[in-house]
Symmetry: C2
Subunit: 197 residues, 2 copies
DNA sequence: GCTGAAACGGACAAGATCGGTCCGTTTGTT
DNA sequence: AACAAACGGACCGATCTTGTCCGTTTCAGC
């Protein structure tokens, strides 16, 4: 995501050698994929396999597990904060709301494993990002409510909670599993249920 | 659930000795709890610990893992089929629908681990139960649609799929995790979104 | 009660997987 | 060419899982 040179641009310092940079990017991407599919306690071996590098490389880059998780979470939060800004830029409050809601639902679905773990892992930097995104989200929701487009009988925290719903894995009765379809389905009905009027 | 004597009442034959019966019940109950909280691949040891019996007892009762899973699934399906019959007995189609929908959502949430696995595991007996429940569900949904209480722009399979949504684990942003609250929340909004008119 | 058989429990062997280290080899830089 | 940085993966000990086996307990019929 971020491939600049400067020594301490993010929480994680970028290495100097080009192959090191390439591998750093690979590891982070692999970690995101791995965390998404296998939860927060994926093994380092699994991540290394996914990234196509040796375990040593992963351990060298992230000696502490928390550092890795912080990097992953930060990466996701950055994307979402961007979406939130786009949402606030929309003239139409409902449009902005559904944009952000969709974005949150999508990330939640993709990273079903890490829900609720934001608080524990990640240092103050991640906490700061989280706080920023929470604030933006609150504003997007309340604006839609103020304009009478979003039902007012729910606190903004509860609306936020609903973003977890589309992360459907299936139902007790099975059916042919089609996550994407299910995701879209829930999103549609949920937004219908949320609209004011 | 079923503690009768006959040798081959269900897929699983009931043992003769009273302690054996007691343990059989314990193991099944423990298996349900364990599968609910730890997914389909709980270890036999875990189930035994949960049941308060030795591993040997579990292995003796269910030499094949599939047999155990079939028993668990059958147990759940039995409860749901019962609910479905209650739903059809309701005079009010919407009341019946929301009863069954809630029941399905609850089981899905409680057994989030086993979604979609109904097809693979469980022999023809379970398949039969599944088919029966599917049929009942279809009737409940279509009756509500026919009476103009449930939106018609969704196929009954899709409505069924939605029962997976309330099984919220959390969202990317964390918040204080409160599954029960989230579950109720999604259910409410979803039912609002599903009502016709 | 007594006795035989059924059921029990948990120690145990074998294998998989995990976290984490270490060192011989490769690769980039100057 | 030469040096250092980065790499990869074999390897170790610990943990967890599957599945078996056998000495002990518990039930049922007499």
């Amino acid at each position: 995501m971020n491939t600049e040179r400067p020594a301490a641009s993010q929480g994680t310092a970028m290495p100097v050698r080009v192959d090191a940079q390439r591998n750093a990017a690979r590891v982070l991407a692999a970690a995101r994929r791995a965390v998404a599919s296998a939860g927060l306690d994926v093994s380092y071996h699994e991540i290394a396999r996914e990234a196509g590098v040796g375990v040593g490389t992963v351990y060298r880059r992230y000696p502490e597990r928390d550092q890795l998780m912080a990097a992953v979470l930060s990466d996701i939060l950055t994307e979402l904060i961007d979406t939130a800004h786009q949402a606030l830029d929309c003239d139409d409050a409902w449009e902005g709301f559904s944009l952000l809601f969709t974005g949150l639902a999508l990330r939640t679905a993709q990273n079903a494993g890490l829900s609720g773990s934001l608080d524990q892992h990640g240092g103050p930097a991640v906490a700061q990002q989280r706080h920023e995104l929470l604030d933006l989200t609150r504003r997007v929701i309340e604006r839609a409510q103020d304009q009478g487009r979003l039902r007012r009988d729910l606190a903004w925290q509860d609306v936020l909670r609903l973003t977890g719903a589309p992360a459907v894995r299936g139902c007790v009765l099975g059916l042919e599993p089609d996550p994407a379809h299910g995701h879209h389905l829930v999103l549609t009905v949920l937004l219908d249920g949320l609209q004011a009027g």
